[in-house]
Symmetry: C2
Subunit: 447 residues, 2 copies
């Protein structure tokens, strides 16, 4: 029995079914009408790059059924009884309820957008963008109400992607965030580059400002009150991030962590509850750099965890090895990537850390189309162990973060980054790879 | 005393001078008029992308002199006496010779293009492209003789880059190679993709064919005889690769390896000769995957080795950690990258190896501009240790090889590749990273 039909749930269901075949009956209960979709693609749908919602669906309920999965949509689970081994399922269509028994259960209930705890945040026209249904509601609102002005609350990944999408759709767009600069997962001076790129595109960026209220009339939201003034808005998008959707898990007695996510074993098993598993945006994960549980809701982790849960609940022996905090996005032609700890995060943890920052180009300096890029590396003094990396630049910059993520995974030192045999040809980099230029600079700081 | 003023020689000279300051007199003897140039940029100069030769010079002799280096151009070293600790220098201008004493010597004499051992290969109009002077001669020939037809001999990195450059310059261009497919450092079926891309661009590709002779008249080369027929040519470019330029080192008694390169310690010291060092395209390097010395002439290694030699000859303690065989190029919009061993190379070594190949896209499948890419991973059975990777695809494909190169450096297993926390967002990849899709597929083969 799988609760939730997106990345983690469907990966698990498909993997288990492929392995166990007719020996295993797999039921998937999904609240919405959609399965296996890319919520990360919603900004590109809003911007008009992708024909949604179908374009964002990797595999529909019908396609899953053809592969032998019993996928039930519009099926909301309202309770889990781990003693009786049943779930209570409510039909979204007619409200009828039934109990279904399970031998093994996977909780893959995902995440829900954070809403500011201020008056009016539930007004019509205030949209989260976490599920495909959220996307459908937003697109309907953008189509039907023909709004002119959008306000995006929060300037993290989703916030800046949605702001760009709204701007490209022709809306006058303002982003409001309480931090000093956008992209709080970067050091602020690098976030400043994102700030400037957004302003250059004509997006209003209001930082250091807390949202105090939403104003609305009979038609829905009309404005966002922040920092003592009102920003007129015909549509509002919440980009404050998400939290684990775990009321159901909590009520059923599953152990939750500090972030409200389910705490699982590396096998994705829920400790103390035989045959109960959890995976995806509803669980906390082990951070190999912080050496602590963190909450990192990302499709790529959800897919991996789902696959592992599917292997293990069908008799496999797989382990989720944790994360190092790699993330990437693109805003207004600027690619932004990070992994591990920023200098600021290391400082906040009381971790002794040193950074070096270099400016270089995406190709050999003399090569046509060479564009600026910034690389910052952060490491432990004395040991020289890499702690994190941040990269900002034009096309061809961001994917280089994977080299740092791989090095971080292996607990490499900065000297080893300098030694690596990385690819070089003039269309791809300077003779000294940008990461190695930064590593050399950081070696100088460490000594 | 440094012999050779390109990547390795000037990196060493600059590094040593920066560290030792006035305590160290640094003399650089360079045969040509150029220092610190990018020979890898010559194809882009020929194609018209870069204004050469100056555009390919990172730092001129004059700029080096301003930094305190005694750079002497047109100064060809004709003999090294390691007992007397002198070199004999001949002036290219007037043929005069003088002896210069040294305390420490760095041999950085680079590489020379391989010439086929067939009649006529030294005819005017048959060009190597190894030095900036080679580039100047080729450009002069292309300008003065206004050739219509180019033949490129050899379809490795330089050969295919030069073929594209000639084609883009408007020449009717044919490449001839004795192997079954271009790019002998890839498995042949992947080389086939390069073959097809070149043909699509209108380049003639003649494979499985050995050059037998060059024909010429009073004006220079007129044709290339290969496979029993004559390919008319107004200009011929040699793309057969290079070999270490080590006659001087050999005559001076420096130890050479199987490829004719100088054998050095990891410190870049020449064993048995106190205060004698060698670096760059004239040395052999340790391959961490093959666990053998190999010959890999690449600017990126030359720069690293030069820096290490410069550190060590000024009292430092640095080590060149070897290579894993990473290389990248771009031909006709197709990016091509490899690291470690191909399946064919593993087979030829008698190394038990298994490969998996996947087709995916450079971005999320639904994202605009998603282009095909192919990833092949090769690993040891049982241990699952990664042995090599090959990637071919459109823009955004090739630089991902760095993830594999880093994994290979750390002797990762395929399972660890699947576990890695790599960057994901729709503009950059599918939810499962292309390398991880290939790694999953290979895990299936290994089990």
């Amino acid at each position: 029995m799988v609760i939730g039909g997106d990345a983690a749930g469907m990966s698990a269901a498909s993997t288990a079914k492929r392995r166990a075949g007719d020996d295993l009956e797999v039921i998937v209960l999904e609240r919405t009408a959609w399965t296996s979709y890319s919520a990360c693609g919603i900004p590109y749908w809003v911007a008009g790059d992708v024909a949604g919602p179908e374009g964002l669906v990797a595999r529909s309920p019908e396609q899953h059924r053809e592969r032998g999965l019993d996928v039930r949509v519009g099926a909301e689970v309202t309770a889990i009884d781990t003693a009786d081994r049943t779930v209570t399922v409510r039909s979204v269509d007619d409200g009828s309820e039934q109990a279904l028994g399970f031998d093994q259960l996977l909780v893959a209930t995902g995440a829900e957008p954070m809403r500011p705890d201020v008056p009016g945040s539930d007004a019509p026209g205030v949209h989260g963008v976490q599920t495909l249904d959220d996307g459908c509601r937003l697109i309907a609102s953008l189509t039907r109400r023909a709004p002119r002005r959008a306000v995006v609350v929060g300037a993290g990944y989703i916030g800046i992607e949605m702001a760009e999408a709204c701007k490209r759709r022709g809306l006058e767009t303002t982003v409001i965030d309480k931090a000093a600069e956008p992209m709080g997962t970067l050091d602020p001076d690098l976030g400043r580059q994102v700030h400037e790129a957004m302003e250059l595109m004509g997006i209003g960026v209001v930082t250091g400002t807390t949202v105090e209220a939403f104003e609305s009339d009979a038609d829905g939201v009309t404005g966002v009150v922040a920092g003592g003034r009102t920003y007129a808005a015909d549509v509002v998008i919440l980009g404050l991030g998400v939290r684990p959707r775990t009321p159901l898990a909590r009520a059923a007695g599953l152990p939750l962590g500090a972030f409200g996510g389910v705490r699982v074993e590396p096998s994705m098993a829920v400790p103390g509850l035989d045959g109960v598993w959890a995976a995806g945006d509803c669980v906390e994960v082990w951070d190999r750099v912080r050496e602590a549980f963190v909450y990192v809701p990302l499709g790529t982790h959800a897919n991996k965890q789902g696959r592992i849960a599917g292997m293990n609940l069908s008799g496999g022996h797989e382990v989720f090895q944790g994360v190092v905090g790699t993330a990437v996005t693109k805003v207004c032609e600027l690619e932004v990537a990070r992994t591990g700890l920023t200098q600021g995060q290391a400082d906040a943890m009381g971790h002794d850390a040193v950074s070096a920052t270099i400016e270089t180009t995406t190709r050999a300096g003399y090569f046509p189309g060479a564009q600026p890029m910034t690389v910052r590396l952060t490491a432990e003094p004395y040991s020289g162990r890499l702690l994190g990396a941040q990269i900002i630049g034009k096309e061809g910059s961001a994917i280089r973060i994977d080299t740092c993520a791989t090095a971080l995974w292996s607990r490499m030192c900065v000297q080893e980054l300098v030694d690596l045999d990385l690819a070089y040809a003039p269309p791809f980099s300077s003779t000294w790879d940008p990461i190695q230029v930064a590593a050399r600079s950081l070696l100088g700081e460490l000594r």
